[in-house]
């Protein structure tokens, strides 16, 4: 089964600084999803990547999928307190597999210090 490893597990950054979260897969990623979760709440969809080398940006958040499609990174520029939360990467394991269930990484807890 596919496993996703996220690093770091937690991160404390000063407001205004940049941060990067990595998500590494044991298998080829056919669809990689980034979500944000406030503690104890539901997940907010951020971005989806599917092509090797793909990069997407939304406001101050940029996500990339490497050419080999086994690693993704999420980069936040000039962090703000609103960026605090838990960031989760999720992946489709295979195309047309039984169920579009997502396998999730362990999450990265981000704290932004004012």
């Amino acid at each position: 089964s596919q496993e996703l490893e996220q690093s770091p597990q937690s991160l404390i950054v000063q407001e205004g600084k940049n941060l990067t979260i990595n998500c590494t897969s044991s298998k080829t990623l056919y669809g990689l999803y980034w979500y944000k979760q406030k503690y104890g709440e539901g997940l907010i969809f951020l971005m989806m990547l599917q092509k090797g080398g793909e990069e997407k940006s939304h406001e101050k958040i940029t996500a990339k999928l490497d050419e080999k499609k086994q690693q993704s990174s999420l980069h936040i520029t000039a962090s703000q307190p609103s960026h605090a939360g838990i960031y989760l990467c999720g992946a489709d394991g295979e195309i047309k597999a039984a169920g579009n269930k997502l396998t999730f990484g362990g999450g990265t807890r981000v704290l932004v210090k004012p």
Partner: protein
């Protein structure tokens, strides 16, 4: 447009009881997924329903079951509750097209506490 809704927000049960959790997907979505997020275990896939049928289930015992109704809403039932069933249960919905990539949109979750 309304997002995925879940009820109740919180549920407190005792060991051995049964719990029923409900989920309404985004209008137009036919697939509903259930995930368990237990402390220290991360987010684990439980069940996937599409067009009224169970399409896939994760590595959970049979006392976790559910169903999807004709209006695509879904129920998750947990029988013979155990202490370790205490978790945040998240429901997600998507367009349910098996041969394309579909973003899953999540509800706010139901916090189940088993005493």
């Amino acid at each position: 447009e309304a997002g995925v809704t879940q009820s109740p927000t919180h549920l407190i049960k005792t060991r051995g009881q049964q719990a029923t959790l409900r989920c309404s997907p985004i209008s137009g979505h036919t697939s509903v997924y259930w995930y368990q997020q237990a402390l220290g275990l991360g987010l684990q896939f439980l069940l996937w329903y599409d067009e009224g049928e169970e399409r896939n289930r994760g590595n959970f015992p049979p006392r976790f079951s559910g169903r999807q109704f004709p209006n695509y809403s879904s129920e998750l039932n947990v029988n013979a509750l155990e202490l370790e069933d205490s978790a945040l249960y998240l429901c997600a919905s998507s367009l349910g097209l098996a041969d394309s990539y579909n973003e899953q949109f999540f509800g706010p979750g139901t916090r189940l506490t088993v005493l």
